[in-house]
């Protein structure tokens, strides 16, 4: 049933359908509406057999999640921006402990200067944390992704960040469709943790590892994420099949000639080819980008969109395949490594190292700067013309920076 829902409300309902046992969070914009809604669902009993814990910090939120997950509960939390950094120590810990926590990151910029608006600096800063990071393009994907995330997390015994652009998605009302409780129950059985605190079989979790075994634990963590790509893909396909409709994909390729309006996985779409520009990005910017494509096409600029739903693990092979023989690659990067360039660009560059295709990193929409079809069009026009630099800051106000510093 289609509904008009604010993204946060939709996500809260999706999380509720997954029947978590413990939800805890600390308020930070723009994640608040999600946990507010969940607190209400727990209070009213709509979400039964669930404890909602109001904690005193994000660090505590992740810590409570760790405890609850270690005790075998399905756990949910949400955060953003500074909150994610404040919980960073526990973020790494949760993945090290192999706890299948699902956390929504309502992507937001990092200060200073303090800024509450959307970019993706926060979750991307945790790219090495050992968590899976899955991105939603729109609120429908955000809904689907939360259900998928639990299934993936629990199958892999790894924590998952579901990343959705703050405000742009969390606070936007869209027409979406939630799966039914029956559908989710059938898809997502009760959690059976690989390992948990168990009075019947007491074990010690979170032990110290010496030099003799630490490398091996990290190797295993690496291999677990490498292997996760297949699991993610399978689960996403299962989910779509289960619901009988299109749903989130770890990598989606789209062009004006795509058989489906949202595009499809690499296997179902042709890769970019000569004469085309492959545009790679994550999150809501890819919606706006897609909207800009028809006008660009009119200008003779052929675009193939590669939308990454999975950032960690990074689907390098799919990205390489999707790029195909494109003339050039433009990465729309919502996060910056100062002194280096775009965060996502670095991953893309690594995956296409031997392709010999020029790549442009476009830093776009930092701190809530609007990403417009017009600006995207401008960038791609420049790209087509070979005028785009290797690293560009979209809509940079030159007058504000020239002479500064």
């Amino acid at each position: 049933m289609l509904e008009l829902l604010e993204g946060s409300q939709a996500v809260a309902r999706a999380v509720g359908l997954a029947r978590p046992g413990v939800v805890c969070a600390y308020p930070i914009s723009p994640q608040t509406h999600i946990v507010e809604a969940l607190s209400g669902m727990v209070r009213t009993g709509k979400l039964a057999n669930c404890d909602y814990i109001n904690v005193e910090s994000e660090f505590a939120a992740m810590s409570v999640s760790i405890g609850a997950s270690a005790a075998g509960a399905r756990v949910y939390t949400a955060t953003a921006s500074q909150g994610l950094l404040y919980m960073a120590e526990a973020v790494y810990n949760a993945s090290g402990l192999k706890l299948p926590i699902v956390m929504t990151v309502a992507n937001r910029a990092l200060g200073a200067p303090i800024n509450i608006w959307n970019d993706q600096s926060d979750s991307l800063s945790q790219r090495d944390s050992g968590w899976l990071q899955l991105f939603a393009v729109d609120n429908q994907e955000a809904i689907d992704l939360h259900v998928i995330a639990y299934k993936v997390a629990e199958e892999l015994s790894l924590p998952v960040m579901v990343c959705m652009d703050g405000f742009v998605l969390t606070h936007a009302s869209d027409v979406v469709e939630l799966p039914t409780q029956e559908q989710v129950d059938a898809f997502l059985p009760p959690i059976t943790p690989l390992e948990k605190l168990d009075i019947a079989e007491p074990r010690s979790m979170g032990m110290m590892a010496g030099p003799d075994v630490f490398t091996e634990t990290k190797y295993l963590a690496h291999m677990a994420l490498v292997g996760a790509s297949k699991v993610i893909k399978r689960v996403a396909d299962q989910y779509a099949a289960h619901l009988g409709r299109d749903a989130w994909q770890p990598v989606r390729v789209w062009g004006p000639d795509s058989p489906s309006e949202r595009g499809g996985p690499v296997s179902a779409e042709r890769p970019a080819q000569q004469g085309e520009i492959a545009v790679i990005g994550m999150g809501s910017v890819m919606g706006t980008m897609q909207a800009a494509v028809p006008r660009l096409k009119e200008q003779g600029i052929k675009i193939r969109l590669v939308t990454l739903g999975s950032y960690r693990p990074f689907p390098a092979r799919s990205v390489r395949e999707a790029i195909g023989t494109a003339d050039r690659v433009v990465v729309l990067d919502r996060a910056l490594m100062p002194g280096v360039g775009g965060v996502l660009s670095a991953d893309v560059r690594r995956s296409m190292a031997r392709l010999g295709i020029p790549m442009h990193s476009v830093i776009a929409g930092l701190g809530g700067r609007s990403i417009t079809e017009r600006s995207l069009g401008k960038v791609l026009t420049q790209a087509k013309a070979g005028e785009l630099g290797e690293l560009e800051f979209m809509d940079l106000k030159r007058d504000l920076v020239e002479g500064a510093g």
């Binding site: 413990v22 810590s63 409570v64």
Partner: protein, 334 residues
């Protein structure tokens, strides 16, 4: 469990076991088949009172809960010496996450148990003084303020021993640590205002707060029992001797804790809902010097350069405790 009057039994409840007592009056530590929740093979230093206190606390809790217990442990000596992979000295479902978050992890465990209707499984969080009162204070306070069903136990050895004896918020004035060396015009730790976490705990009006030491097992066991008889947030703060950090003989770990209480520097009491309800009176008062002198961390207070002014301030602290908690028995002499 209320302490009951026990007729004269040679050693009464002063010793661990007493064959003259009825079975039900005996300490859990005296049970031949006690849980030994923290068992042999751990790598604590010789004479580690923290290891001892932890076994006491958890064995009692295991007894009370009939084995339905889960434990969250902060980073620190207790964690490091007990769980170097692949060997764990714990015989209880146990998890270590981070330094600062044991209280929150415990909250999560309790919530998970509650959500699946297993409130019969109880949760204990434990950490050292740094993990509790310094870096972990926010999580601890949150757990208290929400009145989460967790017993938090702090093993206070008065410094960051795990990292090589640096000063913590619980380090006593004048004590030498690696970061408060005994040099300069005011050697050792500063005379600050102190941070006594039990009083911070009491400020949350939680159901139960108690202090204890490793010198009085029965008192500690009774307090753990009492704590476990309450629901909600509870806190027990245990003074544990650290031979390494204090510079004491390994065999003197119990004696030093005893002297800490006998001189009044460490008050032993219970508080319920923010009010002190019981005080363990000083059985036989000792001068603070008796407590300080055997500790190398206070060596600069004695000898050729005896720091009488510092000693006087420490005496003052002991007297203040004695007055504040009414530590002397009726008649005022112990």
């Amino acid at each position: 469990m209320a302490k009951t009057h026990i007729p004269f039994m040679q050693t009464g409840t002063l010793v661990v076991g007493n064959r003259l007592l009825d079975e039900e009056d005996r300490a859990v530590q005296s049970y031949q088949n006690r849980p030994s929740t923290l068992t042999r093979g751990h790598r604590a230093c010789q004479g580690c009172a923290e290891a001892l206190a932890a076994r006491w606390v958890l064995d009692t809790a295991m007894e009370v809960t009939q084995g339905k217990l889960m434990v969250a442990n902060a980073t620190g000596c207790l964690e490091v010496f007990s769980t170097l992979y692949p060997e764990s000295a714990w015989r209880v479902p146990w998890v270590h996450s981070l330094f600062a978050n044991a209280a929150s992890v415990a909250t999560g465990i309790a919530a998970a148990n509650h959500a699946r209707g297993r409130d019969d499984i109880r949760v204990i969080a434990q950490g050292g003084d740094g993990g509790t009162g310094d870096i972990g204070l926010a999580c601890l306070s949150g757990m208290f303020e929400r009145n989460d069903d967790v017993l938090y136990v702090c093993y206070d050895n008065q410094a960051y021993m795990n990292t090589g004896v640096q000063r913590s918020g619980a380090t006593p004035p004048a004590a030498r640590t690696a970061t408060t060396p005994a040099v300069g015009p005011h050697p050792g730790n500063v005379f600050g205002q102190g941070k006594f976490v039990p009083k911070i705990a009491m400020a949350h009006d939680i159901p139960y707060v108690a202090t204890a030491t490793v010198a009085d097992l029965r008192d500690l066991e009774a307090k753990v029992r009492k704590a476990m008889s309450h629901r909600g947030a509870r806190y027990i703060h245990i003074l544990v001797t650290c031979p390494l950090g204090w510079g004491t003989k390994t065999a003197d770990s119990i004696k030093m804790a005893r002297l800490a209480t006998r001189c009044g520097l460490f008050p032993v009491f219970e508080a319920e809902y923010g009010e002190v309800t019981a005080v363990t009176k000083i059985r036989s008062q000792a001068p603070v010097e008796d407590y300080l002198r055997p500790q190398r961390r206070f060596a600069h207070l004695f000898g050729a350069k005896a720091d009488e002014a510092a000693l006087e301030r420490i005496r003052g602290a002991a007297e203040r405790n004695i007055r504040r908690y009414n530590l002397l028995p009726e008649g005022g002499v112990a």
